[in-house]
Symmetry: C2
Subunit: 398 residues, 2 copies
Amino acid sequence: VRLVCDWGHEPSDSALHRLCPECRAPLSFRYEAPIRLGTGRGMWRFAERLPEGPGKRVTLGEGDTPLVRTRLPLGCAVHWKVEARNPTGSQKDRALAVAIAAGLGRGATRVIMASTGSAGMSCAAYAARAGMRCAILCPGDTPTERLAAMWMNGAQVLRVDGSFEELMQIIAIARTELGYYETTTYRKANPYQAEGPKTIAYEIVEELGASPDAVLVPIGGGGTLAGIWRGFTELAGLGLAKRLPRMVGIQNVRFNALALALERGLHTDEEVADLKLDASIPVLTKNLKHAVPPDTEDALRALRESGGQVVTVTDEEALAAQRELARADGLFAEPSSSVGLVAARRLIEGGALAPDSVAVAVVTGSGLREMDTVAQHHRPEIPRLAVGETLERLRAGT
Amino acid sequence: VRLVCDWGHEPSDSALHRLCPECRAPLSFRYEAPIRLGTGRGMWRFAERLPEGPGKRVTLGEGDTPLVRTRLPLGCAVHWKVEARNPTGSQKDRALAVAIAAGLGRGATRVIMASTGSAGMSCAAYAARAGMRCAILCPGDTPTERLAAMWMNGAQVLRVDGSFEELMQIIAIARTELGYYETTTYRKANPYQAEGPKTIAYEIVEELGASPDAVLVPIGGGGTLAGIWRGFTELAGLGLAKRLPRMVGIQNVRFNALALALERGLHTDEEVADLKLDASIPVLTKNLKHAVPPDTEDALRALRESGGQVVTVTDEEALAAQRELARADGLFAEPSSSVGLVAARRLIEGGALAPDSVAVAVVTGSGLREMDTVAQHHRPEIPRLAVGETLERLRAGT
């Protein structure tokens, strides 16, 4: 495995790198080893295609998530790739398993990241498993409930009353002065973690025997979509997939930076930042909330190269999809992670998915991590009854 | 596959059976097919050893849960079998996948069960996946939070102010008058679901290459322990395991019916009921709370045949174990499901597990389903800080 920057420099792979030491460009990895589909268990069966070799695996059993075909009559074959089934309940476990293994193999003893949710839960669990100290910084107003699992895993969780930029400054000081290894999940902060999501593509092709026509991915930072795309291109490059899917990003209608970027021909972080989306608008689908997704450039490249598009959804659509997914297919996902259903319908209605096509939507996170949303927005009706009333209700069926 | 009652009668397998139609004895299954270890994915790769054939599988990707060796220096090799990784977060998914498949294959369109937690969540999800109507009855004082996920999956959830006996009477009427199929998870109510847990034994032997010296299982109804034992005996009968493990049950010290039964030579439900344990004592480890575990007789047989024992734990020990498991191994389990750590220590200290022995403890359920316990009993300390203070805290490391 070779570490290469976007301008072609090759720093030595023996240290922990963040950006190219020569030119500060983002880093990625090149592999000679083949991809072996169909054998072994878990994400690390692809170890030869991941930055860290078999010697320093850190695992909680991530990967090998189910691909479940929906029972809903949507008009074409739609499968859910249930990433919610990863150890801490999201696709971030693939990224953090790789990032923590890379750190452990290179002597890191303490990790730090900024996160409000999935990535933080994942980092805390893998750092615990690796015996590393872990600090998670999150916005000052994050509810304790969302952070309690990270704290249980032994992380030092700190709510910071400061802007995103200030959080980044704190992390920079922690890196340079306090010896922390940063695992925030975007490629310019940590190139190792960016390799995790591509194994989602490997597993999809393993199971379907081919690339689907489209892969639908909720966009938080954009790195999951970009990583999955890289996985498909690797498979195609090795002759393991004959064609490539279209990548479809899903954004909240209020945080539609990448949709606008595609419309207006924008490519860079700076151009997207100039859209000046208001980062303070409250949305329920918090995992879709980034005014400028930190992996914007990679995500835009994947969307364009694949001939894909961005679908935008409202909070209301996300909530309705959450309920429908649970009731029709028995899958209880977060609202942010249920939006694949909304996007699939949109694409089928608009003709972008033909009746004979196959789509895979990534269900990124488990609904169990957001029970407050259920209580507040779905308002479960669970009556308390006497024995006689119970039989009446059963007879009525409601 | 043959359906056989404990007295040897063989009812036809074409209808849904609850007890032997001839003598009302409990039912179980006998198989001619071999157990194929080491190939395929998920629980249904063992379909030939389960009551329902491949034609009527209902699956959310249950089974193939990770076996994770603890980093804690406990004095012998202890592995966690992480059943929390099943689709709805517990080992019950194996039981309900089989029960719902059996019902679907025999024409059931509505299911009912009594449950306060794991089994209900599982039943609701699998019934949804199968397109079946689902009713869950639970005690009147069950908090809404514990039931919201079942409701999301479309179940009719009813809290009933009545005794366990009254709930059973309601279910009996629902079965006989309203056409409901009962899936409550004990063998005398549903012999199909009782086949699910044995696949845990298959997977353990697959991964370790042999039976461990001991298997530690938290006891709720007792069916999981009994089912796992059956799995090991099947493997031994087919020559796939050379020896059998000791089965170790784990009970709450206040609900220690099986521990007392072993001490006093009790065997039957009636004898254990005569212990008159007070079912109203509040305990935190609710999944360990049964005055008379409904699968008492099967569990006692497994404990005795295997030369095993019962370890009792306090709520405080369970909470401490929950925290330690999360911090040392990155596994966030319910308190009820973390007690394997307490039991392993007890057995090693008492000499029941020698330094060269191998133990597997089943981590039955995910901690994400009991965030209220974390808030109330672990009381996370998550400060809210200004930027400057944050750096001070990071420097201090606490």
